[in-house]
Symmetry: C2
């Protein structure tokens, strides 16, 4: 699907000058829900179309096509001043921008989502799935769901159905629920209470390396009171969530070097050093058996939670026993601390390992290299470059010579243990104060759409470059996620539950009409 | 190249009843060398043809085609009673058998090689190379060699040229030098001094799981005084080699289990256990920083070398400094022991690691599994099942629950650390006594082909299922390798130096005419 195509039934939604009126929250919810219930098939068709466009960093043409498709979706909804914002640096995927100016509104919210997805390894996806060929399933495939054909045009859709595709949750779901939330309001004749701006980024999964320069360049257009970040999953309890911060993040690639050519393990085993063993020993040195990071000073910079934040943490419903059973492990890391407590600490995670081959492809060799990818999450107080430096120092203390390039013959001859470090683009954590007045109104707005208490989290475990908004614009951010928690984001078999798309639509419409 | 095709110029070598005569070693060498020099292009063409037939365990049709091609090559050389020996177990790649009965000969040698190669991962081969599309290079590609077109029909071939293909060294080179050694004798009118039998196996790289039953079934046909095993590389000094034993070998696949589905490292990092970390900690526990294996009792069963064997070990030329420089590492394992001393000890090597993805494909996840493949080499006294049991016990002592199948939900709920062990087919070491009379004659015969002293090794670092010959037939074995040591056997970019093919041909002809 390389051509921009939008289902015909959606073309009718272009609004020129609908009669818009303010409405109380209950009325908003009722009308928005009615609208959605009457248009589920069309919304699904449009979303499947969007998911079929490859949108990963390795495919710049796909990213651009995704951006132009989203821009067209915005124009069709009557959003004004739609444009693709170019970064000062050439070659950066464009940011899709648009706005809705509401007569009489005194406040402005920017709705943020990102349209790029994590890298894909199609071979790792389950049979019948392919990252950019979205398909429906009757439920989570990991829990007995099965693939479904596309429903007949008038058939009802179950909220428990899932769409499987890269980006289906992270974060085209953000784009989709924001745009359909606005669409439901506009088509129901309901006027937003705030001015709306839309900002859809295309580089989030690469660590948003050009976000700061984009914000600087378009600072004037982006003036606002608050950014609503629509990304990440709702709470594992299924309850809606407003998140006041995110962890920072930085990746670190490690390559340990062994002999220059792969050696027969029989003729050289016991004599030639094995880089896979050296990597294992290095990684093993980084954490103890409880998951505590042993890198010196790793936890030193952490800014403690305020009393209000600690209280919010205590109110988060416990999900650990059920999660552990679902995920199939007997003992978590962290020596009895709760998941939410642990997410308020910095972390060091191994994302992947590779050295030569395993399984049926394994051969009896001493490999030439062994690689790992680390992921360091940061909390308020941590600095990503300082955190990287601590890890690098730890690696040196294990006897490794650290290089940032392929080792030279001289380095190979001089140093018994050689590791190449390749840090990724990183950024720090961000936390918005719990007592910000507009933040309370956001929580109340979300609360109008659900009977269950909204979960208020001081920080999300995941990362978004939210510090950049504060730094470049001085504007606070709140994160309001929509995806199901079991969405396999960042992995194979990523999926979104249809019910979460519909709930998210209602959440976004409520935010656009907050009191 | 799926059809059996043999270069026309070789079809002329079918011998019906040539006049054969015994000859002194110097005359044998002169005539054999003359014959080879006059037929290098034809021999090369035939070998390229053989190398182009895929011959890995995953391709049973390719293995069978390889076997029938070799059988045809034998018939064309006048070898008699050529047949494909079927194993009692169905589906086993056939063994290619043939014989040359020499009137008056009182001794019988069996020449063994294997025609199957190690598994291939074509993506890991260098640009321009493909495992079963053999190509010529001007020298080792790792040391500045470059790819060459096929030479003109009358162009001279440099002995330093290499052929790149899976199996080019390990061990179609064995098949080729044995058959061309005999061909050179036959075509030069020289009578072997011993009866010859030929035995080309197709399952060696899988650990020869059906060799014993084949030897049992064909025990009568395989009566002999000695088996000559043509496999492995000559000494790194370039000197020819006679090897009296081999290490045993067994593989062990490990899979450590984490959460059932890949988890976002931000939302679960610090809480959900990471199987890559657990695998790293497990592997790190197995060896110390000098490469000494820390598995309890690992070195206990070793039968010490005899005084004669120790003396032979001391006579092996030192190659370590030059090798270390070539391979590009600063410190070997083994705390100062020589390579040959270390090869007379059992070993534990990591062949490969895999967990999720690294590099550009890495995603910020907690992986579901982490895999490693181990390779345990065994010396005289070790038993492969006992050695596996020691490693399994060590793994349990590190707190792992060991299973041999996918863990059940109950096992996941009960055990904090779970590992699945998948042992491969294994076998023990074998060593022929240095003072066996026929063995001395073998060393003398090889010595007639070279001015440099032949290296006598009590054991090869590599493995062959030689214990099976002793056990099933009671017949001793000697290994006489031909490949260059830097052949990348068991890895990508496997290659053979042409000069080693020609030297090997002379070695085999000398053995067939030993005094």
């Amino acid at each position: 699907m390389k051509n921009v195509y939008l289902p015909g039934c959606l073309l009718g939604i272009v609004v020129a000058g609908l009669l818009l009126a303010a409405a109380p929250p209950a009325a908003v919810l009722r009308k928005v829900r009615q609208y959605r219930q009457g248009h589920e098939q069309a919304l699904l068709a449009e979303y499947l179309h969007l998911l079929a466009i490859p949108s990963v960093a390795a495919d710049s043409a796909g990213l651009r096509q995704t951006a132009t498709t989203i821009a067209e979706m915005m124009r069709q909804r009557g959003i004004t001043n739609v444009q693709l914002l170019a970064a000062p640096t050439p070659g950066v995927p464009p940011t899709v921008y648009g706005e809705v100016r509401v007569p009489g509104a005194t406040r402005t919210l920017v709705f943020y989502a990102h349209y790029d997805g994590q890298p894909v390894n199609a071979a790792q996806w389950a049979p019948g799935l392919s990252p950019f060929k979205p398909v429906l399933a009757s439920g989570s495939l990991a829990s007995g769901g099965h693939l479904l054909p596309l429903p007949a045009p008038t058939a009802p859709l179950s909220p428990d159905w899932r769409i499987y595709a890269r980006g289906s949750s992270d974060d085209k779901a953000g784009v989709m629920t924001i745009l359909t939330g606005y669409q439901a309001l506009a088509q129901s004749g309901i006027k937003p209470t705030v001015n709306l701006k839309f900002f859809f980024e295309g580089e989030e999964e690469r660590g948003s390396p050009h976000l700061a320069e984009v914000l600087r360049k378009y600072r004037t257009a982006l003036q606002a009171d608050l950014w609503i970040i629509c990304d990440g999953p709702v709470h594992q309890s299924g309850r809606k969530e407003v998140v006041f911060g995110v962890r920072g993040d930085v990746n670190l690639g490690l390559t340990v070097y062994g002999p220059k050519r792969p050696l027969h393990s029989g003729h050289y085993g016991n004599w030639a050093p094995n880089p896979a063993l050296e990597l294992a020993q290095l990684l093993a040195s980084m954490k103890d058996s409880t998951g505590r990071v042993r890198v010196a000073g790793f936890y030193d910079d952490v800014v403690p939670l305020t009393a209000a934040e600690q209280a919010a943490v205590r109110r988060v419903p416990a999900v650990e026993p059920a999660l552990q059973q679902e995920l199939g492990f007997a003992r978590p890391e962290g020596q009895g601390q709760s998941l939410v407590e642990l997410l308020n600490q910095p972390s060091l995670n191994i994302n992947g390992l590779r050295s030569a081959n395993v399984g049926a492809q394994a051969a009896n060799v001493i490999p030439t290299t062994a690689e790992a990818m680390l992921d360091l999450r940061l909390v308020l107080g941590n600095d990503y470059q300082r955190q990287l430096a601590k890890v690098e120092r730890h690696i040196e203390r294990q006897g490794f010579f650290v290089t940032h390039a392929e080792p030279t013959d001289v380095e190979r001859a001089q140093h018994a243990r050689l590791v190449r470090l390749e840090p990724g683009a990183g950024y720090n954590a961000q936390r918005t104060p719990l007592d910000l007045p507009l933040a309370r109104q956001v929580v109340q707005a979300v609360q109008t759409t659900t009977a269950e208490p909204v979960v208020v989290l001081p920080t999300l475990g995941g990362s978004l470059p939210l510090y950049v908004f504060k730094q470049e614009l001085g504007t606070p951010t709140l994160t309001v996620p929509v995806a199901n928690y079991d969405n396999n984001q960042h992995a194979e078999n990523e999926n979104i539950r249809l019910g979460n798309l519909w709930d998210g639509l209602e959440t976004m419409a409520a935010l656009m009409t907050l009191k």
